[in-house]
Amino acid sequence: MIKVCFFAELRERLGCAELFVQDFSGENINQLKTFIVKQHPHWEKIFLEKKLLIAVNHAMASNDTAIAAGDEVAFFPPVTGG
């Protein structure tokens, strides 16, 4: 199982703060995105946005970052703190 979190504007647009992905057989973020989009087809456009940032286990990641069961994956817009 992989925990997936969404933050800020992305969380509001999807209407979802977190979800748990079961039976995922892929190996990286790109495949996870495809897997999630299959379950939520109307999210596809949002997942293709260039500016979407990714974190795996609290470290910044990219589309080809490897993931495995037990990981926490987060998707969020560019940060605007400070």
Binding site: C5, F7, A55, A59, P77, V79, T80, G81, G82
Partner: protein, 156 residues
């Protein structure tokens, strides 16, 4: 504690943080404290409030990494990074970066480095509620990232 990172809803006290940065053995020759404030808009626009969301645990991890990177690059004595979350009002303190060192150059540069990197890598997001003019209804929207912030972060 040499390097302090705190993410909190409460305000912070500049004097207290200043004193914490000064080491007890008199080798400290420079303290740089930066505090960022919630800025109001230019009239007739008016900022009502700011809501700061963050990614718990990742924020602390990222800020801790920035402290370590600054320590690896400059000769520092102590560092402090405090970032507030939740609802803030115009003029509220939002972020503090403090650095102490033997010499001023290290403290100045390290503080700027931490702040520049924080702006583009720490997972915080601002949502502003504003009045476009005094007679209108409040509107809320997510703040967009700035290319200028990215350029400032890239220079290090």
């Amino acid at each position: 504690m040499r390097n302090l990172v705190r993410v909190q809803t409460d305000d912070f006290d500049l004097n207290k943080e200043y004193n914490r940065l000064i080491t007890t053995n008199s080798t400290c020759g420079a303290v740089v404290l930066f505090s960022g404030l919630v800025r109001d808009f230019i009239p007739p626009q008016q900022l009502v409030s700011l809501e700061l969301e963050h990614y718990p645990l990742m924020t602390e991890t990222m800020l801790g990494k920035l402290s370590m990177q600054a320590n690896a690059r400059w000769a520092l004595q102590r560092t402090t990074i405090i970032h507030r979350t939740g609802k803030l009002l115009p003029s509220d303190q939002i972020v503090l970066v403090g650095v102490s060192s033997a010499h001023r150059t290290d403290a100045f540069e390290a503080a700027q480095f931490i702040m520049d990197k924080l702006k583009t890598s720490a997972p915080f997001w601002k949502k502003e509620t504003l009045m476009p003019n005094p007679d209108s209804k409040p509107e809320s929207y997510w703040v967009s990232d700035k290319d200028s912030d990215e350029q400032l972060a890239q220079r290090w």
